[in-house]
Each structure stands twice: as structure tokens, then as C-alpha cells.
């Protein structure tokens, strides 16, 4: 990426898919400002849902319905299998997806559900760290593009009519 500045000044750098920034040539000041003013706060914000995730589900919502086809569950398994020093137990593969992942690198243990076409739900067990969540998020978004990360809303209180009319 070559960002023109005033006159003959420019700043040339590369942003890799995984988030690596490489400065190549030119004036590095704009890049430093970008990192300090925008990138650092954005990175801090991206971990916030994971910091408040205790006993709650984190949802990774993708722009496309990647999981409409059950065959996509295999891609999810492949993606999380790429995490080093982990074990995965697939507890349910049809019709919905439920796997448990244990990360021996950092002690994180996760329940991973897919119950909707464009969303992965992750619940950390015990004291799963934000960093451990981020590693898991990273391998999933590498396979399925970026996702909006949020804490799942607490479940609604339903009426009896909701239950009998299939809205629960």
C-alpha cells in the first residue's frame, strides 16, 4: 500500500491478512500515527467481548451463510485442528454442530456450536483467557473471512404462547 502525503512524500507499507504490518519506505510517521491512534484501540476493542465472556456465549457472525451446508462443518473442524497442541471432540455433527476444544498451550477449553447458518457460538469454560479466544477466532476467520464478534444476548423470557407457537 502506498499512501501519498504532501509533495513528494509518501509512506509505503504492507498489511497482511493475519494483521502483520511491514514498513517498506518513505515517511514512517503516518504509519506510526495509524498504529497508535486507530489500530491499537481497535485491537483492544476486538478483545473486549472475550474479556466479558465468562459464562456467556461469544458469537462470530459472518456476512454469508457459510454453514447452510452441513459439509462446511468439516471446514470448521479442519480450521480448529490447525491450532497447535489442542484436542477436539466432535460431540454432534448432524443436524447441528457441537465440538469441545481443549488448548493445551494455554489451558483454554471451549464449547463450539453452530446452530444457525452464519454464526458460530463459542463458550469458554472455566478461565479461558481473551488471548485464547483470539487464537480460536483467528483460525476461524482465516477460513471464513472476518466476523462480527459480540456477546450473545441473555435469552429472552418467553410466554407460554411463544412456546406453543414455536418461537422458543
Amino acid at each position: 500500500m502506498r499512501a501519498p502525503l504532501t509533495g513528494n512524500l509518501f509512506c509505503e507499507f504492507t498489511v497482511a491478512r493475519a494483521g502483520y504490518l511491514s514498513f517498506h519506505k518513505g515517511d514512517c510517521a503516518p504509519l506510526m500515527r495509524l498504529m497508535l491512534d486507530r489500530l491499537a484501540p481497535a485491537m483492544v476493542d476486538s478483545a473486549k467481548p472475550f474479556e466479558r465472556a465468562k459464562d456467556q456465549f461469544v458469537t462470530l457472525r459472518f456476512a454469508e451463510p457459510f454453514f447452510a451446508d452441513r459439509a462446511s462443518y468439516g471446514v470448521v473442524l479442519d480450521a480448529i485442528s490447525r491450532l497447535p497442541r489442542t484436542s477436539i471432540a466432535l460431540l454432534h455433527g448432524n443436524p447441528y454442530f457441537h465440538a469441545t476444544l481443549t488448548n493445551y498451550e494455554d489451558g483454554g477449553e471451549f464449547e463450539i456450536f453452530i446452530t444457525q447458518h452464519s454464526t458460530i457460538h463459542i463458550q469458554g469454560r472455566g478461565e479461558a483467557s481473551p488471548a485464547s479466544f483470539l487464537r480460536l477466532q483467528d483460525v476461524l476467520t482465516q477460513s471464513f473471512r472476518d466476523a462480527t464478534v459480540a456477546l450473545e444476548e441473555r435469552p429472552l423470557q418467553y410466554s407460554l404462547r411463544d412456546l406453543l407457537e414455536g418461537r422458543v
Binding site: F57, R125, G166
Partner: protein, 287 residues
Amino acid sequence: MAESSSVEEKIRQEFEKAHKEYAAYDKTLDAVSALSFVLENVKPIAEETTFHDFRPRLDPPTPNQAQYTPDGLIIQKSCDFVLELKTSWNEEDIRQTVQYGRSKKYYRPDGSTHAFGKNRCMLLGYQNSPGDSNLVKLFDAWDLQDFGFPLVLFRYSLEQAAGGDQMFFVRVPYQRNGLCPSSSLGKAMNFVQGFPVSINSLKLHRTKFHKAGDQVIASYAAVLWWTTYARHYLTEEQKIEMAGGGGVEHPLSHTPGSCGPCSPSARGRRSTWAERRAPCLGVSTPG
């Protein structure tokens, strides 16, 4: 070569048997999770429920008997429900259901016993509805006891629907089937069209239960054993031994990625062994 393929075939058959059993228990835990969600998140049902337990203990009517352990106990302001979930019919179900009906007290988690209230209901769920001849035997045995409270049979199934996958409950339309008392939960169970609970909702409670069922752990361990160990960690001789007898006589040798000594003989206790090994596995089983 022919011998090798027959061993593979035998291992595949054993896996399919183990996986079928596991899937059936797994659906039972889905049903428990769905009912747990309903009890806490359907407001009128939550308001009338004072206590519920999905690993309850009932006091047997005669001393020196082991405590009964049905699948659920729901104590409400106006009615007490005992829940038992089955995969399919077994003759033993009659004796077990009547036993639960005979019990007069239940245990709270603190160990104290409480007598059941006057209004009671026995809920018995099946994935596969029993045939009419079995229902006749079941209700004959129930009516003979003259308990004065109903036995209500229902069917539960995991279904794919337009709005997403769901666990569906519906009362069995059999003329002698009981009717629940008219609490909100009772009304839902009596509703002729049944009611679904989406997987998206029940997943919020699923993790409370997926490791809680002894049967599901054992059956999942069997799946692990037949998929991972029987296929990838045994020598050809051991595979032949496994396929023939369902176990191996001699301790397994050290295996790649193992996290401890592998010593026990697997014969006759392969599920337990595989269960202990389960956390070490990177497993991928077919859905």
C-alpha cells in the same frame, strides 16, 4: 488382503453400532437441555417452578433399597413432576416406571428428603413411541397400582425445520395416556400439536448436561475407541484381535501423542479405558 478388509469391515460395523447408541443418548441430553431451558425461560413455567433437578434421587418405598435415579424432577407450586427419558421401548421400563410412581419422597441437593405433594405426574418420554401392545402392558401395570396420579407418555425428537433445527415434544395420542395437571408446563405437555424448542435456545443449557450422563460418556468412549484407536493405534494383529473379540488382551504399546502410560487390558472394559484417554484425542467422527 481379504482378511484385512474383513477386519476393517468389522471395525466399521462396531463403530456404527457404537455411534448409533451414542447418538440416541445424545438426543436424550438435547431433550433434557430443552426442558431445562423451558423451565427457566418460559416465564409462566419459571414462575410456577420452585425447584428442578436433572440428576435427582428418589427415596425408595422400602428400606435398604438403592435410591431411584430418574432423569428429572420438577417441583412446582401446584404439581410435582418426575421425568424419565428413554430412547426406545424396553420391557424393563414397566418395572422402572412403577417404581418411580411408588416413591413417596425425593432428595434435595442438600441431602434432605421431602414428601411429594398431592398433585403429581409421571412424565415418560420416548424417541421412538412404543407399540400399542407395549403401551397396554405399561398402562395395565400403572393402573394396577392405583396411584391416583397420571402417567403421561410423550415423544421427543430432534428435527430439521425451516426456522432451524429443533427438539420437538408431543404427547402420545393413546387413549389411555394420562393428562398433565393444568399448570403451564402441564398445558404445554398436553398441547395436541406439541411444542418445539430451537437448538439455538437449548444450546444455552446444553453444556450443563453434555458430560453429565454416564451412559452418554460410555457410549461416546466407545465411539472414540472404534474410530480412533481401533483404526489408528493398533497393530494389524491387534486389529484382528479387536475385530474378533471386541478387545485386546495385552497392554497397548506407547502411542503417538500419548499423554501417559497405556497399561490396562481393554477386554471387557474398553469404554472405561477409552473414556480416560478421551481428553488426549483429536477426534473427528462422522455426524
